[in-house]
């Protein structure tokens, strides 16, 4: 890389007007070197495409299935049943003073959102090969729309969660106002990891085989079947905060705290989780942008 000036390709923003703009936008196409800017402005220009892609993902997801959108509920629900039987009844896992099924389900709902987002976004670019090879648009739109599409599934499962809370007679406290923040944290994490994986998947198709294992391990590294207070009791508060380096720990603990009022308010741990998630997202986005130029040649 001989040139030291940071050459930014596709430099100009495209001004979308039906009337020819007085100053014609000039687009410069040239080889790019090194790390390039995220160009979030351009992504914003394409927000309608982002909307349509998300809408397509949602519309198409359950077409021609027998159970339709019920699938969004079945997965976390049955996992909850299995966990309740084995961890709750048999292993007598502590559950921070709330009934085990809802303790577990409150964690599974955001977890499913994260895990599905991860596996779908990892395959998103390769799965959109025909688009990538034929049309230009900010490639970030594809993984982002895939993950946003998962919000609908989340909402459905969340409805079931609310139903269960009524069943168990648990009323949310004022804490639940923080819930959107925890959802945002889950979204950030999912997108951050998803961007890394999808960009890697274009070049190394191994990724698609790794993702299922990866999510499984991650699931057990996240306090879904067990409370994070186990870690706190055994290793002390510093390790507990460091446990938050897994951003999903913060998400899951946050959900429980906001909805069920169980556990302590997840102070420093949430901070660590949020930081980790943001780092994942930023590095993921830059890595994605760096590899983006090769997508059309490699998918």
């Amino acid at each position: 890389m001989s040139d030291t000036t940071t050459s930014v390709s596709n430099h100009a923003r495209i001004v979308e007007t039906t009337v020819p703009a007085p100053a014609t936008p000039v687009l410069r196409i040239e080889p790019s070197h090194g790390w390039i800017s995220l160009k979030l402005g351009e992504l914003w220009e394409y927000r309608e495409l982002l909307f349509f892609l998300t809408w397509r993902d949602i519309t198409v997801r359950y077409k021609q299935t027998l159970l339709g959108a019920t699938w969004a509920i079945i997965q976390p629900f049955f996992t909850m049943v299995v966990f309740s039987l084995f961890f709750g009844k048999l292993a007598k896992m502590p559950s921070d003073g709330v009934p085990y099924p809802i303790f577990c389900f409150a964690a599974l709902v955001p977890w499913q959102f994260f895990a599905n987002g991860l596996s779908q976004s990892a395959n998103s670019i390769v799965g959109s090969a025909s688009l990538i090879r034929k049309v230009y648009f900010p490639r970030l739109a594809i993984p982002i729309s895939t993950i946003l599409g998962g919000v609908v599934d989340f909402a459905l499962a969340f409805g079931v969660l609310l139903g269960m809370m009524v069943y168990f007679g648990i009323w949310p406290t004022v804490n639940c106002l923080f819930l959107p923040l925890f959802l945002l944290l889950a979204l950030t994490t999912s997108l951050g990891v998803g961007l890394w994986l999808t960009a890697l998947n274009v070049q190394f198709r191994d990724v698609r085989h790794i993702v299922p294992f990866f999510t499984q391990f991650w699931m057990f590294a996240t306090p879904i079947a067990y409370p994070s207070s186990l870690v706190l009791d055994k290793y002390g508060s510093i390790w507990h905060a460091l446990y938050g380096l897994n951003p999903m720990v913060g998400v899951v603990e946050g959900f429980r705290w906001a909805l069920l009022g169980s556990g302590a308010s997840p102070g420093p741990m949430i901070g660590v989780s949020a930081l980790a998630a943001v780092v994942l997202l930023i590095t993921g986005a830059f890595y994605f942008r760096r590899m983006e130029k090769t997508f059309a040649d490699l998918v």
């Binding site: 790019s32 230009y136 648009f137």
Partner: protein
């Protein structure tokens, strides 16, 4: 400066074709295992190559062969010009368009585009089979860069142009191919950028629809928009474009008026693809150890002039020169004729018609001529592969790559009503009569 729409300077794009990869031109895909194996063998560069975008690691860089799909191409397109880009398959046309539409990035040089670009490299990109026609119009419009309001405004026009009417709410997976293509083109045709980049989209649908597409294209061209148009349809290029760029092996070969450009391309074609003459050396043949070999094949028109272009139904000759190494008592000569799509059309052979050739002494050179009474086939490039054998023996030599003859629709055989690939393979001049019955 402001009247320039597209400026291209020294544009080049290289692909690496790794010798150890069997994945063709785009063969840069590796598995993580390859990279980790590289890392294990002690080279740190394999790991850093995770961040290298071309996926080639330095350690086995010597295995990489470089192919320039586009090389050192420079040109300028003025605002409002309609420029045709032609060239044989693999000449770099599509790569050029892909660079200009920002799908892939160039390796060298740069391009400047002044104005809003819309590119159309394929019709129906992003169509989802499960979605209805209506939904696909919105989705596809957004993918092509249209605003929601713009799509809504043009919706009725699109539906009307596509002639899908009452099926607009049916999932497109139930559409016939024709309906699907019409709808896909209709959306694309209503894109209104200042600069339009189009790749061979007219090659879809039946001839009536093609005509409609061509009409729409000339409307677009007539509105003073800048168009870059890749096509193999020389008639369309001639009709639509006022300027023409011919690419050859990734390089600019010709830039000028479209009639001259088309002419230049056809001549290029005659010299290369549709070679009327083929010379062969003994080393080049598989049966080099045989009793003889075909040294030269040429196509001659009725007057005996060498020519690859023959009118449909016009007689022509195939002249086959054979060198004999060992005495052949009885020689059987044959030729196979294949259609442009590879369908075997004719199987000509001397023994089938009771013709006897031979004997020939070792060392003799013989020129055989097959006179064909005229091929009543649809226009196109047909491949003729001659062979010869000893009677009751195996084939001695065979020209698999063949010579090519281009059949042109001329005279009685040029009505587009008759020439419809897919509907028939042949053209026939027949007599039609009518008589009033009592």
């Amino acid at each position: 400066m402001s009247d320039v729409a597209i400026r291209v300077e020294g544009l080049g794009k290289e692909y690496r074709i790794g010798a150890d990869q069997q994945r063709g031109v785009h063969g840069n895909r590796q598995t993580l295992r390859d990279k980790l194996a590289g890392a294990a063998s002690g080279s740190l560069s394999a790991l850093t190559s995770l961040f290298k975008r071309n996926g080639s690691n330095g350690s086995n860089g010597t295995n990489n062969e470089i192919l320039w799909a586009v090389k050192d191409v420079s040109f300028e397109v003025k605002r409002g010009q309609v420029v045709g880009v032609i060239g044989r398959n693999g000449a770099g046309k599509s790569t050029l368009l892909k660079i200009l539409s920002r799908i892939t990035s160039p390796t060298t040089g740069f391009a400047e585009i002044h104005g809003r670009v819309g590119s159309l490299l394929e019709v129906g990109t992003g169509f989802h089979p499960e979605l209805s026609g209506r939904e696909n119009i919105s989705l596809n419009g957004a993918i092509l860069g249209m605003r929601r309001a713009e799509i809504a405004r043009k919706f009725d026009e699109i539906v009307e142009f596509a002639e899908v009417g009452k099926f607009i709410d049916t999932p497109v997976k139930y559409y016939s191919t024709g309906m699907f293509l019409r709808l896909a083109f209709a959306v694309a045709a209503h894109l209104e950028p200042e600069i339009l980049i189009v790749d061979e989209v007219l090659a879809v649908g039946d001839s009536a629809f093609q005509k409609k597409c061509l009409g729409k294209m000339s409307d677009v061209a007539g509105q003073g928009r800048t168009v870059l148009f890749v096509s193999h349809n020389m008639a369309a290029v001639n009709q639509l474009c006022d300027r023409c760029i011919v690419l050859r092996d990734g390089q600019l070969f010709f830039d000028g008026g479209s009639a001259e450009g088309v002419d230049c391309y056809l001549k290029l074609g005659n010299r290369e693809a549709a070679a009327a003459v083929m010379e062969r050396t003994r080393q080049g043949t598989k049966t080099a150890a045989g009793k003889g070999h075909i040294t030269r094949v040429e196509i001659l028109d009725e007057e005996g002039h060498s020519g690859a272009c023959i009118g449909v139904g016009e007689p022509f000759r195939v002249k086959i020169h054979i060198e004999i190494y060992e005495r052949i008592a009885q020689l059987v000569l044959g030729a196979e004729v294949e259609s442009p799509t590879g369908v075997p059309m004719l199987n000509l052979r001397t023994d089938g018609q009771g013709v006897d050739f031979g004997p020939y002494a070792a060392g003799s050179h013989i020129a055989f001529t097959i006179t064909l009474p005229g091929l009543p086939f649809l226009p196109g490039v047909y491949k003729i592969s001659p062979w010869f054998a000893e009677r009751e023996g195996r084939r001695i030599d065979q020209v698999n790559e063949g010579v090519h003859v281009t059949l042109e629709g001329k005279g009685r055989f040029q009505s587009e009503k008759m020439i419809q690939p897919g509907k028939s393979m042949m053209l026939m001049d027949c007599a039609w009569t009518d008589e009033l019955e009592p």
